[in-house]
Structure formats: C-alpha cells, structure tokens
C-alpha cells in the first residue's frame, strides 16, 4: 500500500516537473543498450573472479576453521564429560568411605558403651554388696547395743534412784525393791525408749 502511494507520488512528480521533462528525453538509462555489452563483460569477469577466489581460497579456509572449532569444542566437551564422570566416581567413593566410617564409629561407640555399662554394673554390684555387708554389720551391732542397753539403763536407774532416795530420806533403801519397781516400769513402757 505504502509503495503504491509512493509510486503515485513519483509519477506525479515526473509528470509535473518541467525539469524532469527536459531531462527525460533518454527515458530509463537501464534500457539504453549502449553499455550492455560492457556490463555483461565486466559482470562475467568480476563475478567469475569473485567466485573462483571465494570457492578456491577463502571458503575452504572458513569451512576448515569452523570444522576445527567444532571438533575442538567436541573434544573439550568429551574431556569435560570424562572428568565429570571421574569426579562423580570419586564422589561416590568418598561417600562410601564416609558411610563406612560412620558405621564403624557407630559400632565402636556402641561397643564402648556396652563395655562401660557392664563395668559400671559390675562395680555397682560389688559396691552394693559391700554396702549391704556394712549395713548388716551395723545392724547386728545396733541389735547387740539394743539388747544390752535396757539392762544398763535399768541398773543406772536403780542406782540413781537409790542415791536420790538416800539423799532425800537419809536411809538406805533396799535395792531389790527399787529394781522391782524399775523392772515393772520398764515392762510397762520399755518399748517407748527406742522409738519402736
């Protein structure tokens, strides 16, 4: 559409311009056959030369350059691929080693813990036994003391009370009667003295 418009403009311009009419006598120079042979000759010569130089000298070089670059890039890609595979393998190895060592350390830890636990148990058992023995010893001692204590207390009570009475009354009082009373009281309240 735009082209059409422009063409119309051109024709209008050609039509109305006097100068154009003045110079227009030859029409289109393209249709003047004066230099046709010359143009054909030079075109053949120049284009032929261009074609020969391009096809024989320049294009093979460009093609070789492109080919070389392509193969180089391909090689590089292959090398990179190989290295990537290698590194992947190494990474896997590394992972395996890490996994193995982790397992080992876990085992070691477990073993040590069990051993330690066993040791602790044994030690605790022996300690408990010792403690039990000590406790038993102490208990027997306490029992003996418990058994012997009331007699001594009674004796002290009798002596003390006879002393007190002698001081209070001034006469000797028969020890047997006092001991009878103490015995009687002890039998009544004996349990209370030791709290059991």
């Amino acid at each position: 559409m735009v082209r059409k418009y422009f063409f119309q403009l051109i024709f209008l311009y050609l039509f109305f311009s006097k100068e154009v009419f003045a110079a227009e006598s030859g029409g289109m120079p393209q249709l003047d056959p004066e230099f046709w042979v010359s143009q054909i000759f030079w075109l053949t010569l120049v284009f032929g030369t261009l074609y020969i130089v391009l096809s024989k000298l320049i294009l093979p070089k460009i093609s070789a350059n492109l080919e070389l670059r392509k193969s180089q890039i391909q090689e590089n890609i292959e090398a990179a691929d190989k290295q990537r595979k290698d590194s992947e393998l190494k990474l896997k190895e590394y992972d395996d080693i890490i996994l193995k060592s982790k397992l080992e350390s876990k085992n070691l830890f477990n073993e040590t813990r069990e051993k330690t636990l066993k040791n602790i148990n044994i030690k605790r058992d022996t300690l408990e036994k010792q403690i039990d023995e000590e406790i038993k010893k102490a208990e027997t001692e306490i029992d003996q003391l418990k058994k012997s204590a009331p007699e001594k207390i009674n004796k002290i009570a009798i002596e003390t009370s006879s002393e007190i009475l002698k001081n209070l009354i001034g006469t000797e009082i028969n020890n047997s009667s006092i001991s009878a009373i103490v015995d009687d009281l002890y039998r009544k309240n004996g349990g209370k003295y030791y709290g059991n």
């Binding site: 010359s38 143009q39 030079w42 284009f47």
Partner: protein, 244 residues
C-alpha cells in the same frame, strides 16, 4: 545537481574506450562498483578466514556467521545435494548484497539497478539449473512440468502453465531485483528533490521520509539479495530433487 531521479542510473565511461571487434567493453562506473563490491567481499572474507582463533574476533565472526547463514539457507531449501553449489550461491548472495549496499551510499552507482546485470545473473542461473536438471534426471526432468495428482482433463493446461512459469523464471528473478532497487533509489532521489524544492519551510516532512526510506531501502537491499539467493536455491532444489 541533477533533478532528474533517473540520472543516477546513467552509465558512463571511466577512462579510455576499449573495443573488441564491434563490442564496446569500456570500463564504466558500473564496472567500477562491481569491482569495488567484489574487492570489499574478498577483503572482508579474507580477513575473516585468515587466522583461526578459538574465540573469533569481530571480522572472523562476521565471515563465519555469513558462511553458516548461507549454508543453512541452502541445506534448508535444497537439501544436502546442493552442497557442491554452495560456493556459487554464497558468491551470488554476497555479490548482490554488497552491490545493493554500496548503492545505498549517496552518490554511488547501484549495479543491481540495471536490468542487464540482473538478467545476466538470472539467465545464467536459469540455464545452469536447467542443465543440472537434465544431467541429473535426463529427460525425466521434463516431469517437472507434469505435477502428480492432477486430473487428466486439466493436464494439458497445467503443463502449459508450468512451462510458462518455468520459462518466466529468469525474467521474474531479474526484474524483481532490478525493479526493487530502481524504485527504491528513484523514490529516495525524488524525496531528496522535494527537500531541496520545498526549502527550509516545508522540507522537513520529505526529509523525515527520506530518512525513513533509507532505513527501508537498507532492509530491501538485504531482503532482495536474500530473495535472489533463496530463489536460486529453490530452483536448484527443483533440479536436484525432482518432487513432482
């Protein structure tokens, strides 16, 4: 300053008149721009092909991109069989492109705006393609004019149309390029003339148009070179891979 927009297409002799027999083969401005375009092509691509670095510099990149561009164009349209004709199509594309582009520089001559130049190129392509077709397929190449799957009644008509369309290929190919270049350059000249005649007051509008047209014409210069090359590929495809 010629006001006639057609004077830019005039061919004139540079240097002495050279004659071979009755033929005048003098060196003209048209010849000059053919030589200049070719030298520019050779210079650029020679520099681009010279040293091979892994990371190409700008000119090498340009050369290699052009190479792959044309190579892809050929393999896309004509297949792998067209590989031997790569150098020809590459030269053709570059020659037309550089001639078009040199024509875009003010006060230069556009080689491709002359029907005789484009017609010689197109005729050479036409004859070459026809010869290739007959060499590859023998008289079987004539099957090109008989499309498959056409009713027998219509066949004579179709064959005539096909033959006419085949024979008009060199004309359409050459006229397309020539007319595009001539029309574009004439238009630019006309708008340039408007700028002068309308002066400082009204000249701005045609000047704007002129700037826009320059961009458009650069696009057309590339596009027409591309079309010329790709049509050559298509014709070559017909000759190499007979589809019909």
């Amino acid at each position: 300053m010629a006001a006639n927009p057609m004077t830019q297409f005039e061919v004139y002799r540079i240097g002495p008149e050279i004659k071979i027999g009755a033929f005048d083969i003098s060196f003209t401005n048209a010849s000059l721009f053919m030589v200049v375009s070719s030298l520019a092509i050779l210079l650029i691509f020679n520099l681009g092909a010279k040293k091979n670095s892994m990371l190409p510099n700008k000119i090498q990149l340009l050369a290699e991109l052009s190479y792959t561009f044309v190579s892809k164009m050929i393999s896309d349209t004509a297949g792998s069989k067209a590989k031997p004709y790569f150098a020809f199509i590459f030269s053709l594309f570059m020659f037309v492109l550089f001639c078009n582009m040199f024509g875009m520089i003010p006060y230069t001559f556009t080689v491709t705006s002359h029907i005789i130049v484009t017609f010689v190129l197109a005729a050479f392509i036409f004859i070459g393609v026809t010869i290739i077709g007959f060499i590859k397929h023998g008289f079987g190449y004539l099957k090109l004019f008989v499309p498959s799957g056409v009713p027998v009644v219509l066949l004579p008509l179709i064959v005539i149309i096909e033959i006419i369309s085949y024979l008009s290929r060199p004309i359409s190919l050459s006229v397309r390029l020539f007319a595009n270049m001539m029309a574009g350059h004439t238009m630019m000249k006309v708008f340039g003339g408007f700028v002068i005649s309308l002066g400082i007051v009204g000249g701005w509008l045609p000047l704007t148009f002129s700037v826009a047209l320059t961009g458009l014409e650069i696009l057309v210069a590339f596009l027409q070179a591309y079309v010329f090359a790709i049509l050559t590929c298509i014709y070559l495809n017909d000759a190499l891979n007979l589809h019909h």
